[in-house]
């Protein structure tokens, strides 16, 4: 595909006539930008690797952390990220088809494939928003600190909370009231503050209520930070797990449990894990977002016929390079964040 010129004397080579790479200026500069941007991501992922190697506590495992699907609930390890990866690969394919159509000066083809690419990009962004929201809100169980000081993540089926029945009146609720709204949120909030003791919850107005909750099933505690009695990665199952979990949760002590994630703490593993998750997937997501915006701008140019008049669709090729790069980075993020 590269153009070849017969005479290669130094005058033509250095006179600015011939590019040594036989590539246009714009395309080459896009490549150089991508080289530097790739080095930024390289630095981030290597920093992640460094931290993962020096941390003492167990690092979260992808298929344990990311096992949910929208509308379907838990028990689908890695399927959602796989879907996201597939969406991004497909949008990369539609982009390369747009570039190919451009090489044939097929304006309609370029428009069609670029619209498909943009839709794929929005799908990916939406998926990432869901994933972030899920990551931030966390599971129903959270991460629990056991009596011996070890920390464990919790797997299993969380028995639904039916209601809170007020036993001691506060400023808002009377004795005998049955509260049925916003139960899980209230429960989590009180658990973090240490306002649950022996199955009784102290509500924000000072009233005390009995928690009416269904039984949990198949509970497994996986130790992620070793304490006095439990080694790293130990698994505690069944009745024993339930006993230890509720001993801590219902101890009436604050900060025994962590739900979801923020920059300070998260229920999946070490603090740095959450920070890297937000930074690396966030930085990549920002790239996807910019890519979609750039694609839209170029699409407008295609529709307006700007590039057709110019005689070539190189702008589509350039934005395509950027879009493929975003896909390329995701391939690495997928492996090092989710798989390994």
């Amino acid at each position: 595909m590269a153009g070849h010129v017969a005479e290669l004397d130094s005058k033509t080579l250095w006179g600015g006539k011939e590019s040594p790479f036989s590539t246009s200026y714009g395309k080459l500069m896009m490549w150089f930008f991508l080289v530097s941007d790739a080095l930024t991501f390289t630095g981030l992922l290597i920093a992640y690797g460094f931290t993962r190697h020096d941390v003492q506590d167990a690092w979260p495992i992808g298929e344990e952390t990311f096992n949910s699907m929208p509308f379907l609930g838990h028990g689908y390890p890695l399927l959602y990220v796989a879907l996201m990866t597939f969406i991004l690969i497909v949008s990369s394919v539609t982009m390369v088809l747009a570039v190919e159509a451009g090489h044939r000066m097929d304006r309609k083809g370029v428009v069609k494939w670029m619209i498909a690419t943009i839709i794929g990009g929005f799908f990916f962004l939406g998926s990432q928003a869901w994933e972030w929201s899920h990551f931030i809100h966390g599971s129903e169980f959270g991460k629990i600190e056991l009596a011996d000081g070890s920390q464990a993540i919790v797997k299993g089926h969380f028995g639904e909370i039916n209601n809170f029945k007020v036993t001691v009146a506060g400023s808002e609720h009377k004795k005998g009231d049955v509260i049925k709204e916003d139960l899980l949120h209230t429960f989590h909030h009180a658990a973090v503050l240490g306002d649950i003791e022996d199955g009784k919850i102290t509500l924000h107005d000072g009233s005390i209520a009995k928690i009416n909750k269904q039984h949990d099933h198949d509970m497994v505690l996986i130790v992620k930070k070793a304490g006095k009695n439990h080694i790293l990665n130990a698994r505690i199952e069944g009745k024993q797990a339930e006993k230890m979990y509720y001993e801590s949760l219902y101890s009436g002590t604050a900060n025994k449990v962590v739900y979801g994630a923020d920059l300070k703490d998260n229920e999946y593993g070490p603090q740095q894990y959450g920070q890297f998750f937000f930074f690396i997937t966030g930085f990549h997501g920002f790239h996807v977002f910019s890519g979609v915006i750039i694609n839209i701008i170029i699409l407008l140019g295609v529709v307006a016929g700007t590039y057709h008049k110019r005689g070539h669709y190189e702008m589509v090729e350039k934005t395509g390079l950027y879009w493929h790069f975003v896909d390329l980075v995701w391939v690495f993020v997928f492996t090092f964040f989710y798989l390994i």
Partner: protein, 122 residues
């Protein structure tokens, strides 16, 4: 002043209808390949636990499969395979030289720092 002796490289990438068909065939082939590799990776990740004895093997196959996928994206989708040899080198050599070294030094250092914390405390 407008120069008329400059080469418009952008026009060199144009191709015919038949060539286009050929290229599209290749694109479809690569799509299927990348999808298959992703499915394989997820299957391995979902069914082989990290406590499994063959996990180190699985881990390294993830790395190799990732580089395999990356190679196809860069060479086919980004058309780097169609560029001149020295352009390929200019773009790829920095990674082969610096990044491999950085990975080695950072991971090794990370382990050392971890051991130091384990031994001497905070």
């Amino acid at each position: 002043m407008e120069r008329d002796d400059l080469i418009e490289y952008s026009l060199h990438t144009h191709h015919s209808e038949e060539k286009g068909k050929e290229i599209r065939k290749k694109i479809i082939f690569v799509t299927i390949l990348l999808t298959a590799v992703t499915i394989l990776e997820v299957g391995l990740g979902a069914f082989i636990k990290q406590s499994n004895a063959i996990w180190p093997f699985v881990k390294w196959s993830f790395v190799i499969l990732t580089l395999f996928k990356a190679g196809y994206i860069v060479m086919v989708f980004m058309h780097l395979g169609d560029e001149r040899k020295w352009m390929r080198y200019v773009i790829l050599l920095p990674y082969f030289i610096f990044v491999l070294y950085l990975i080695f030094i950072a991971l090794w250092e990370g382990l050392a720092v971890g051991h130091a914390w384990e031994t001497y405390g905070f």
